[in-house]
């Protein structure tokens, strides 16, 4: 893969992580307040995954 496309992909991934980290906690808050365990697991899992990708994204 060319360097420019790698950089572009990295920027897109960062944007996705940013959007996820900003929006998902509000969904998590809704799930916590309504006792929706499955939604808590999904949103919490996605937030953690986003952070993990953030570390791996050199």
């Amino acid at each position: 893969m060319k360097k420019s496309s790698l950089v572009k992909n990295k920027a897109q991934i960062q944007l996705m992580i940013f959007a996820a980290e900003l929006i998902l906690p509000f969904l998590l808050f809704y799930a916590l307040n309504h006792g929706l365990l499955w939604l808590q697991v999904v949103t919490g899992g996605l937030i953690s995954l986003g952070i993990l990708v953030q570390v791996l994204l050199a």
Partner: protein, 525 residues
């Protein structure tokens, strides 16, 4: 949780992770902050009895805190890039040194006043990047230029960049500006004096410092008083900008005094004309973005009906009481309230929209420029935002799991009460040095300093003022900022020399803050 060396070290582990990764392995804040978050979660769950529910609520709270800071970061970046693309920064930089041929006044104008003004508007390493090349064009060596530009604006970082760092301190500690602003403004106002003296000495030697000393005293008084007035009257986002502007105005007056009166330098150097061959632009129109921001800022803050109208709609949430299995409790509380239309970030946005319209009308910007502006904002904004979110989240989790309290207990038992006010600014320096910003230093150590002050029965506003003043003065010593400055004057790979000099001289204003903090603690206890 019992306090012993092992548990204290465990509580320190997330912060230590960030320190080691950023300092020893050159990781960026975005990556290191994320790993710090993971370490905080693991330690909180395994050693501090933190459950899923507490972690989840802490994460939600941290996003509200982050949003408060992110709103300012994004809109400050937008305003800076609009003005920069329209040529405002370049024109200010070109015009200022032409006002006088007196060397010490030129030095003060560029490496103290202009650099602080840019810090007020933009920050993020931009002040050094803009002013260092101007100083090189004025005949200073690249090393001198970077060192002077860095040291001249440390006092203005806390209330600079639209007070992002100060906003972060308020967000993590939950304390209002009225409590935190007075002592912070006082410490940083005092620190502006040694900053001016140092740049005068570095630029013109002892003789220059001697000649410029009366002007430095007057200008630091003007800037310190202006900053204090703005910061304590709810205009903290304009405190550095307003102070630097007042300093520039008074400096223009000082240039008329016989001792500083010297023939103005030639208007344009050949180099600058060659570098920017486009048609001349009006100075007033170019700087209109900043004038508009100052006018809107004052208008919204000082006209009460407007202030009340804009602050009617607030985003707020209520959080339940939370506790760990080891018994550490966080009481039920409202999350950080965000005023949708009256937030400092929104005031910046209004200024962005109006100034963009003016620049487009005047022909200083076209649709191609708009793409470039948005591209630059996006590029810098995303990286900064991810670092802020992960570090704020880490700090919130550490706070809710009792780790910050344990750290604070450890410090309060090992550092004496009389000594701590002098240590507090150096902790702020350490945080800024490691993380590259006053903002991140406040996020990392803000709550820790507050808890330690509480345990030592020291005045919390005093210790937090010392923290953020230290962070402000320490942020210029961070390798990340020095690297940005060096890259603009061809010193890439030779940052160590600049860094050594900046640290050597940069610790002088920090020492002054430490002394003032101790004196105030003795008086206030």
């Amino acid at each position: 949780m019992p306090l012993n060396f092992l548990t204290w070290l465990l509580a320190l582990l997330p912060v230590l992770t960030i320190i080691i990764l950023m300092f020893a392995f050159n990781w960026g804040g975005t990556r290191a902050g994320a790993l710090g978050w993971i370490v905080a979660v693991v330690v909180a769950v395994l050693a501090f009895g933190t459950g899923w529910r507490l972690l989840a609520y802490a994460q939600v709270k941290s996003i509200l805190l982050s949003t408060d800071v992110l709103l300012i970061i994004w809109t400050a970046l937008l305003l800076y890039n609009i003005a920069n693309q329209a040529g405002a920064i370049r024109i200010i930089g070109e015009r200022l040194p032409t006002l006088t041929s007196d060397r010490v006044m030129q030095v003060l104008l560029v490496s103290w006043l202009l650099v602080s003004f840019i810090q007020g508007m933009g920050g993020f390493g931009v002040p050094i990047a803009v002013c260092a090349p101007i100083l090189v064009a004025m005949g200073f060596s690249p090393l001198q230029a970077v060192v002077m530009a860095a040291l001249g604006h440390g006092w203005g970082v806390n209330f600079g960049s639209m007070a992002t760092a100060f906003q972060a301190l308020m967000a993590v500690t939950g304390l209002p500006a009225e409590t935190l602003a007075p002592l912070t403004a006082l410490f940083l106002g005092a620190a502006s004096l040694p900053s001016g003296m140092i740049v005068a000495y570095l630029g013109t030697g002892w003789q220059g410092l001697k000649k410029g000393f009366p002007a430095i005293i007057i200008l630091s008084l003007v800037m310190g008083v202006t900053q204090y007035f703005l910061a304590t009257n709810n205009l903290y986002i304009l405190a550095t900008t307003g102070a630097a502007m007042a300093g520039m105005l008074v400096c223009l007056f000082l240039l008329r005094l016989p001792m500083y009166h010297a023939a103005p330098a030639p208007e344009h150097t050949a180099e600058s004309s060659l570098a920017h061959p486009e048609k001349p632009r009006s100075f007033l129109v170019s700087v209109s973005a900043y004038v508009i921001l100052v006018v809107i800022g004052f208008f919204v803050s000082l006209v009460k009906p407007v202030n009340q109208l804009l602050n009617q709609v607030r985003l707020n949430t209520q959080f339940p009481a939370l506790s760990t299995s080891l018994g550490w409790q966080t009481p039920a509380e409202a999350g950080r309230a965000i005023s949708i239309f009256g937030h400092p970030g929104m005031i910046l946005l209004y200024a962005c929209l109006i100034s963009y319209g003016i620049y487009r009308y005047a022909g200083y910007l076209n649709s191609n420029d708009t793409k470039q502006i948005l591209g630059k904002v996006y590029k810098s904004g995303i990286t900064a935002s991810l670092a802020v979110i992960s570090m704020v989240s880490m700090a919130t989790i550490m706070n809710h799991s009792g780790m910050i309290n344990l750290l604070a207990r450890g410090i309060s038992e090992s550092v004496s009460r009389a000594l701590y006010p002098a240590v507090a600014p150096f902790l702020g320096v350490l945080g800024a040095f490691i993380t590259g910003s006053n903002n991140n230093s406040n996020v990392l150590f803000g709550v820790l300093q507050m808890e330690t002050a509480r345990l030592l029965d020291l005045p919390i506003p005093l210790i937090l003022a010392a923290q953020t003043a230290g962070g402000s003065l320490g942020s210029i010593m961070s390798p990340a900022k020095v690297i940005v400055g060096c890259s603009t004057v061809g010193l890439v790979g030779k940052e160590a020399g600049a860094l050594r000099k900046i640290i050597l001289f940069g610790l002088i204003p920090v020492a002054l803050v430490a002394i003032l903090s101790t004196i105030f603690a003795l008086g206030l206890i």
